[in-house]
């Protein structure tokens, strides 16, 4: 169980003169649920973008499942098994809820261009399979009765859930959630927490999540990394993090 699924070694990302992330060392074991926290602008989303290939690290090495993923394009990394959600929701807003999920099955579909334009061979069978699987996912996230609606017309909380459903459709091994509870009320956050724990068990996922909501992070994460000014200042179990003086200083301020 303790096999490392994702490992970053000495990763730095420099934008001009700004060191967004520096000497970033961390790892996630298979099956773990790890949290990444830190004040605004600490470099959490940059870390996500480095893992998913949106940015290329200036220096350092990132390995997924024992192989380097540095230099791969985002879609190649997704195909290796890392899916993500976005802090500022990025749904395909003019498409229906169902289509949003179907798109994420993209690289699992096994029919070619000719089969789709002439509707031969595996086209109907594969399409039926995708539709069935997509509806199953929507059901898990209580979105099945909204399947035909445009994604932009969903309420905020439902859009967040749809993003997770869509990420799961890519059948990842590692799921990255960027502030999944942002803008949710405590009741919704609680439901989300339960949902995350449930899908993790059901799909055998490893999850890395960024979150500001401490009740959520402390409640479900097994291990937490704390970032500040692009550096990891603490790591450990929720109890260790809660009592770490560095962390308290970073969050509450204090005499420097």
């Amino acid at each position: 169980m303790a096999k490392e699924l994702l490992k970053a070694t000495d990763v730095s990302e420099v934008f001009g003169g700004l060191k967004a992330v520096s000497d970033f060392n961390f790892h996630i074991n298979k099956g773990e649920l790890v949290g990444l926290i830190g004040p605004n602008g600490a470099g959490k989303t940059t870390a996500f973008n480095l893992i998913t290939g949106v940015y290329q690290p200036t220096t350092g090495e990132i390995q997924f499942d024992g192989k380097s993923i540095v230099g791969l394009k985002p879609y190649q990394i997704t195909q290796r098994g890392i899916a993500r959600t976005f802090q500022n929701i990025r749904l395909f807003s003019e498409l229906t809820v169902l289509e949003n999920v179907k798109i994420a099955f993209h690289f699992h579909v096994k029919y070619g261009l000719l089969e789709s334009v002439f509707r031969m061979g595996r086209y109907f069978k594969e399409e039926e399979k995708i539709e069935e699987e997509a509806l199953k996912l929507l059901k898990i996230f209580h979105l099945e009765d909204k399947a035909g609606e445009l994604a932009k017309n969903l309420p905020y909380g439902a859009q967040r859930r749809l993003e997770i459903a869509r990420a799961l459709a890519a059948k990842p091994k590692l799921l990255l959630l960027d502030e999944p509870a942002a803008g949710m009320n405590p009741q919704e956050t609680k439901e989300l927490m339960e949902m995350i724990s449930w899908i993790r068990k059901e799909f055998g996922l490893t999850i890395l999540l960024i979150e500001h909501d401490m009740s959520l992070v402390m409640g479900i994460c097994e291990r937490i990394y704390v970032l500040e000014y692009g550096m990891i200042i603490a790591q450990g179990t929720p109890d260790v993090i809660k009592n770490d003086p560095e962390v308290i200083r970073a969050y509450l301020g204090g005499e420097a």
Partner: protein, 318 residues
């Protein structure tokens, strides 16, 4: 999924009836030769509009050089039929392949650009193609290519139009087409869902260009003479107007747009000075009252009045 097949059969049945009626009108000499020619032009414009819609409306890549690809198809086609006496079908295939290859080669560098920059680059490319043709003496240069055999019949146009419509409709409703829609909606999200965005942009561009090539071959063989001036950027603009007027991202819309624009310009043929004014007015009114185009994302198959005929139409299954 069976309803999809059923809808296809209804569509084909409807198309065959429409073809029989129109062909009857032509054979019975009820339509004047002016309107007969316009019927051909409508069909060709439908192919142009729907293939441009694949690039602009479905994949969201703003291309303004569609007439350039049409020109490539037209010239490749006429050289093969006139100088080499090859059959018309061979010319059609060659025109499609030539335009498609060019689209592919041009797509690789230009599709890295976004929005306005892509529009400017493709506008320039369309003009470059035209000017290159103008300077090739082998195809008649600026004076044009003369002595083209009159191969284009209503049947060719109609059935190739039908082929193009079904091809693009099925493409849009497939895994590949969904990838294109995802690119239009949000490129970053598409990429992070495992979609190779470059590949699908180029795929859409190539298919669009190939159909423009087919339209070009049909267009050239409707006349005795073609010249580079038939493929100016005003022409590209015309196709864009059809697509925008009908609705970006609606095949039904592209058909309607091609009809409306072609017939307006045919009806105004005697008053050419008013034509552009009326175009402009129509577009301005459109922007005010219906910015999404006549159909928006709507298709015949999912409109309420046709619900009885079509079972639960999917996107663009029109």
């Amino acid at each position: 999924m069976k309803y999809l097949r059923k809808n296809d059969f209804i569509m084909i049945g409807f198309a065959v009836v429409l073809f029989a009626v129109l062909q009857g009108l032509i054979a019975g000499r009820i339509l004047s030769s002016f309107w007969q020619l316009n019927l051909l032009i409508v069909g060709i414009n439908v192919i142009m509009a729907v293939s441009l819609n694949l690039i602009n409306g479905y994949t969201g890549q703003f291309s303004l050089g569609h007439a350039g690809f049409m020109a490539v198809g037209a010239y490749v086609g006429v050289v093969l039929t006139t100088n080499f006496h090859l059959p018309f079908l061979a010319a059609l295939v060659a025109g499609a392949v030539a335009a498609g290859i060019l689209g592919f080669l041009i797509g690789i560098p230009t599709l890295r650009l976004r929005g306005d920059y892509l529009a400017i680059a493709t506008l320039g490319l369309g003009e470059i193609i035209r000017i290159v043709i103008m300077n090739i003496d082998y195809v008649g240069g600026a004076a044009g290519f003369k002595g083209i055999p009159h191969h284009t019949t209503f049947a060719w146009v109609f059935f190739l139009m039908l082929f193009a419509l079904f091809f693009i409709k099925n493409f849009v409703n497939s895994n590949q087409g969904r990838a294109c829609l995802a690119i239009r909606e949000n490129e970053i999200a598409a990429e992070s869902m495992g979609v190779n965005t470059t590949k699908y942009k180029i795929m859409a561009f190539t298919i669009g260009a190939a159909f423009a090539g087919v339209a070009g071959v049909l267009f050239a063989h409707s006349f005795y003479l073609i010249s580079p001036n038939s493929f100016t950027f005003m022409q590209s603009f015309n196709y864009l107007i059809m697509v925008v007027m009908g609705g970006l991202g609606s095949i039904t819309g592209s058909i309607a747009g091609a009809f409306v624009v072609t017939f307006i310009s045919a009806a105004l043929a005697s008053w050419p000075e008013f034509r552009m004014i009326i175009y402009a007015l129509a577009l301005i009114l459109m922007m005010f009252y219906r910015p999404q185009g006549l159909f928006g994302y709507m298709e015949v198959t999912n409109m309420r009045i046709f619900r009885k005929i079509f079972k639960k139409g999917g996107r663009a299954d029109g």
